[in-house]
Symmetry: C2
Subunit: 311 residues, 2 copies
DNA sequence: TTGTAAGCGTTATCAG
DNA sequence: CTGATAACGCTTACAA
């Protein structure tokens, strides 16, 4: 409630001096600084950010746009986003930034339109996007999902799982598509068939049937590349429920906590979402390079666990 | 970049008229409104929030403080927080609020100190807190974790699991303590022993040993009340790894996606984090009741699944 | 229905 | 080293 004028008055100085003291400017003496600080203390002063931002022509604010999915839960159940937010947050607070996010709640398209309208907003997209008309100023931080897909396939083949299937839930999600394409390309480069199998996110009974009929048709199947860790857990459950005797290898993406405590523990490709967030925030704060239409790739890493012990 | 003055000039009106048009005030004619709107369009005008907030003496901003845990991952792996954020976000965007959060990164105590210092910041705490010196103005949104603990115990007993154990990881977390206390109170009210067993979040080998020696000592054990869903999944894994022949009942809290796809699917108490978030945001936006030190309780609900099929 | 002008809290320029 | 003073972009009495 107290303004810098009140502080100045109490300290017996001008507002400009008070302001300088606030910012620990070395244009003023330590003595007056101290006097001003005491006044601030006494008045329980805290600066008005709106006023500061107005005069400094900044916002000290960055936006995070999160995708909307069918179900309320899907975002929450994907640790990826929370970890990104943490990464962003850590960098922001290091730089005295407060940060804002809009949970994006309608159709996906209008995000960029919104961003374009806010001309003085710079934008970093975490993950890739189907969107075509992306403003030049937009930068990306992403994993190389295609390469990760290749790596997954290569790893499985090397482990001796010759006959693989890519298990996915939704090819409208670019991540899944890219991983599939990488997997597929690698398989083909080895003269192997790049099989894939779609599962429902909701109808488990249906999934059991799908799996059973697929395995009946493809009895040689040895291993699965799951589009993400939730899919992998689903697969494990399906195997149990369809009382399959055979032991299938599974590799998944994301390496969230559940892959470690799954049974058997899942081999998974860590994509370091926390680092994605950190990098995104750094780009956002780095005003200089606003113009360059660049793309930063965060590397991934295979974390090997029990689910690919081929014995 | 264009200001309201530019708009006014282009539209051939005064800034106040332009401002009124911006807010669709009915003090001015539809004709001039239209003219102003066209000018805005043409100039790609967007209002400066800092200036608006300064003059309106608002911030259009709410703060979210997230707890810090030992590991970077723990927040991300708890769907609870993301769902809360989504709930908050939905209400905020309905009310034209932008929202800000600080990921709180140091010791827990100074959160309230910070909030107190920002005198014009109103505060809602989601979940409870050990903190004693909480400002009067702070309101809470929480579950009744104690009652949920009671309900869990009651449910298990009713299902025929007579000998129960509460499995937890950290009694420094108030949620776990409260759930334990509810469980414990109910057990005692039934003249049963309220056993509990601590597990490590990291050392799985240690956990296997702990479980085995506990079960050796308490061979009658039939069921587990897990402090949360991650704990429950851990338990399932431990059972597998210790090759126990007996089938134990498990009930967990949180009802996140993984409880549904666990094997066997876990009976779990849903605590509706999304609603917690919504309610928190509503309280925050409701300036009127700032003074009342109130506490809103979001109810919980047992979602029954396979893990408590006692046959 | 519209315009004028004061002021929101802060910083920066410039003069002392 | 310090103090006036003019912005920053916007809203809102008050006046017309």
């Amino acid at each position: 409630m107290a303004t810098i004028k009140d502080v100045a008055k109490l300290a017996g100085v001008s507002t400009s001096t008070a302001s300088r003291a606030l910012h620990d400017s070395d244009m003023i003496s330590e003595a007056t600084k101290e006097r001003v600080r005491k006044a601030m203390e006494e008045l329980d002063y805290s600066p008005n950010y709106s006023a500061q931002n107005l005069v400094n022509r900044t916002t000290n604010t960055i936006g995070i746009v999160l995708p909307v999915r069918e179900s309320k839960d899907s975002l929450g159940n994907n640790p990826f986003f929370m970890q990104i937010i943490q990464g962003i947050s850590s960098i922001c607070s290091e730089n005295g930034y407060i940060h804002v996010f809009f949970l994006y709640s309608r159709k996906n398209d209008s995000v960029f339109e919104f961003v374009k309208n806010q001309k003085n907003v710079s934008c970093v997209v975490v993950g890739s996007s189907y969107e075509e008309k992306i403003p030049k100023s937009v930068r990306f931080v992403d994993n190389d999902n295609y390469q990760a897909g290749r790596d997954a396939a290569a790893f499985m083949l090397e482990k001796g799982y010759e006959h693989l299937v890519f298990a996915y839930t939704d090819m409208n999600e670019l991540v899944q598509t890219e991983r599939y394409q990488g997997y597929s390309a690698y398989m083909q480069s080895c003269d192997k068939e790049a099989l894939s199998l779609h599962f429902s996110r909701v109808n488990e009974d249906d999934n059991v049937l799908k799996l059973q009929s697929f395995l009946a048709e493809h009895p040689k199947t040895q291993g699965f590349v799951a589009c993400d860790d939730i899919m992998a857990i689903r697969l494990q459950r399906l195997f149990k429920n369809s009382q399959s005797l055979k032991k299938y290898g599974i590799i998944s993406f994301n390496n969230s906590l559940i892959t470690a405590i799954a049974n058997p523990a899942l081999t998974s490709i860590d994509i370091f979402p926390y680092q994605l967030g950190e990098k995104a925030a750094q780009l956002l704060l780095d005003k200089k390079q606003k113009e360059s239409h660049q793309k930063v790739i965060i590397s991934h890493k295979i974390i090997e666990r029990e689910s690919t012990n081929n014995d």
